[in-house]
């Protein structure tokens, strides 16, 4: 019996490389976090703050939200997004020797990290809008403010239950 197949060879499916959004590139995240430490934290920066500012940088509306929060005394900053990618990036930064973690848990730039930010700052076309925002934000988001916010959550959550 004659069977004529249209395809006689085997078919191989190959996975094509996946695109990665720029926000999840190691280099990009490392640079952003280093800039936050450089421009927005004197004497160390908490994980919470890194998360908050890093989220704020990702879209225009997020930027506005954080801006409102630091400029008004209200605590209507509903949710802080904890991005696992930021945590992972911090781990890389520590392993690379860009960041140090102090005893009080706050992160700080090492000498190498400072060097890295210096090179980034030198090139004005690089991350220009991010730099501008961080510059305006400066030290407005204090650790106290963040503590206030978390305490506020604790109480409101208790009320919820």
């Amino acid at each position: 019996m004659d069977k004529s197949y249209v395809l006689s060879e085997e078919i191989i499916f190959d996975a094509k490389p996946d695109a990665v959004p720029f926000n999840y590139r190691i280099s990009y995240k490392l640079a952003k976090l280093s800039l936050i430490l450089e421009l927005n934290a004197r004497g160390g920066c908490s994980l919470m703050k890194l998360q908050m500012v890093s989220t704020a940088l990702s879209t225009t509306s997020d930027r506005g939200k954080l801006w409102d929060f630091v400029n008004n005394s209200s605590n209507n900053y509903s949710v802080v997004r904890f991005d696992p990618a930021v945590n992972r990036a911090i781990k890389y930064a520590i392993a690379e020797g860009l960041f140090n973690q102090q005893k009080n848990g706050l992160f700080r730039l090492t000498k190498k990290g400072k060097e890295f930010t210096k090179v980034i700052m030198k090139d004005s076309s690089l991350l220009s809008s991010e730099k501008k925002y961080l510059f305006l934000l400066s030290n407005k988001l204090t650790e106290e403010r963040i503590k206030e916010l978390t305490t506020f959550w604790r109480y409101t959550n208790v009320e919820d239950k």
């Binding site: 996975a15 094509k16 490389p17 996946d18 695109a19 990665v20 959004p21 720029f22 926000n23 999840y24 590139r25 190691i26 280099s27 990009y28 995240k29 490392l30 640079a31 696992p84 990618a85 992972r88 990036a89 890389y92 392993a95 690379e96 020797g97 860009l98 190498k112 060097e115 890295f116 090179v119 980034i120 090139d123 690089l126 991350l127």
Partner: protein, 675 residues
Amino acid sequence: MLKINRLRIEIKTKEKIFGFDERFYSGLNLIASDDNTRGKSSIIAMIYYCLGFEEIIGGRGEKVLTAAFKSVIEEDENVWPVLESGAYLEIFNGIEVITIFRAAKIENRDNRLISVYYSDMENIHRQDTLLDDMYVHMPNAATNKKGFHNFLETFLHIELPMVPASDEAIRKLYLQLIFSGMFIEQKHGWANILSGMPILGIKESKKRVIEFILDLDTLDNDRKKDQLRAEEDHIKKSWTTVVREIILLVERESCTITGLPPSPKILTDVDYSKIIIQKNNDHIGEYINDLTKDYEDLNALKPKIIDNFDELQIELSETEKTIREYEWDIVKLSDLLDKEHISIRRLENNLEIIETDISNNKDAARLRDLGSEIDLYTSKDLCPTCHQEIADTLLPLPNDMPIMNIDDNIRHLNAQRDMLKFAKLSHGSNLDKIQNSINHMEESLYKLRSLAKSLRSDLYQTNDSLSEAIVYKRLSIESEINNLKRLIDFYSNHKVTFEKLSERWKDYLEKKAALPENKYSEKDKVKLKHLQECLVDNLKKFGYRSIKNLNQVEISKENYLPAIEGFDMKFDSSASDNIRAIWAFTLSLLQTSLMDSGNHPGTLIFDEPAQHSIIVSDMKEFFNSIVNNLSNSQVIIGITVKDSDTRKVVNELPEGKYNLIMVPNKAFQKIDKSL
């Protein structure tokens, strides 16, 4: 032709003037010295420099010259700082004599400046001698009026061809390139045939230079091909413009046109008869006839209402029906229009996002580079702790999942952007189309409504008044006929343009067919054959030994350089045979040019041809063939006469057939006064 008559170099120091002043003649000129490093090459370099050809030595400006021109000059024990230096060169083109002056070091005088005196060197300071200042090595120096090389081109009675450059433009072949085929410089001139050629962005420059020297028709053919290509472009462009204009007008009158050839072709009567303008599926002529008939019928109608009351009613209801249909169509089309608008807006948003994505990705790529500058492991896709390979991502991925690197990512995004742009473009053209048909329908709707209005007012009129509807209809038919007639007129006007373009196209095709297939004309073949014969003959004379059978040597059809069985001859040559090949090829270019009236200026300069311990008897042959065959051309040779064998060769040269310039201990001797 170019003949160098006299060179005078002046180097001024605080107390004395040093210099060199000698005459050159037709035939063999030897600049000889007992030992090396006497300054022969400085003298020869100065000839190049005066002509603005110092790029053949390898550089621009005075930096190619030796220290004697720029900083200090030695005299016995004394060292004199150089204050000013420069040189005069008297050249002859067969009719006129000019003297060129170019400074090597003179305060406040740009070394790109060249002064041309229209007289021999003796008379440059006479009151009636014309002087012209020109420049070299500046943009457009090869084409501008004050460009020295442009002047030199005219002076030497040569016409440089336009040749394709590497940036796709068409440029003039540079004089420097051509002279690198005749001035063999001491250092890299002897590396390979035409190896001294500067890189000036001309495609296949060696090939072009040989083509020019031999005056091959291929160049001409190439140029013709270029012209034809331009003509083709031009015809195509005018053709599509005409077609577009016609289609535009035809569409404005809501007609269709078929059989219009979209690209140029030779049009026959059959083709013309195939071009048909239609309206409502009727040939436009017939349609106009119908309209005229309607018009006449209307005239025949009695314009009184009472006679046509029933007809008026039927017509009104029909018109209203058509109006409703049109309105419905317009609503549907408007829906489509909105949809297109929405898609375009969405695409624009996406495009914006992708644009920022691309720029952010570019940032990421640069940050990665910065990271590797300060030695980050992650920039090399290595884990900073365990130094194993990791993927450049912060997202958790299954292990075997490949990810794009940043550059691919950027390319990927660029491709996406292109796709979106394309989609946006096609939506845009849809939008235009829909808008057009809406406009059309609205126009017709307007007409129909006016008609309905006339009909309605007719129905309510007293019975014996004049029918407004009939008058309106008459008017509108009249204007339609006029418009269509204008369209026909327009088309027949453009038919003439088509006829002209079709003629030109035919002409173009004929010329294209006339171009020789393999681009060599019969004359070219003869010239190349002569070149090959001269070359083989010279190689035999000069003792080329690397190949047994010299008849295997041929001129490559690819680049006109000598080849053996299709390979560059150099691969099979010993070092000294390579020198012989350069002698032979350079001479045969001149010989062939003389034989077949090519463009060779008739001057050759060899600096130290005795490279790589060449055998003395071969050198003798080299000199002899110059003395015997090229007495009307000019050959200048710089040579070191160190050993007795070379001396013997020089001494044995026939008396009076050559010009010997002995360079003493130092080339630059004290001279009395400056010119």
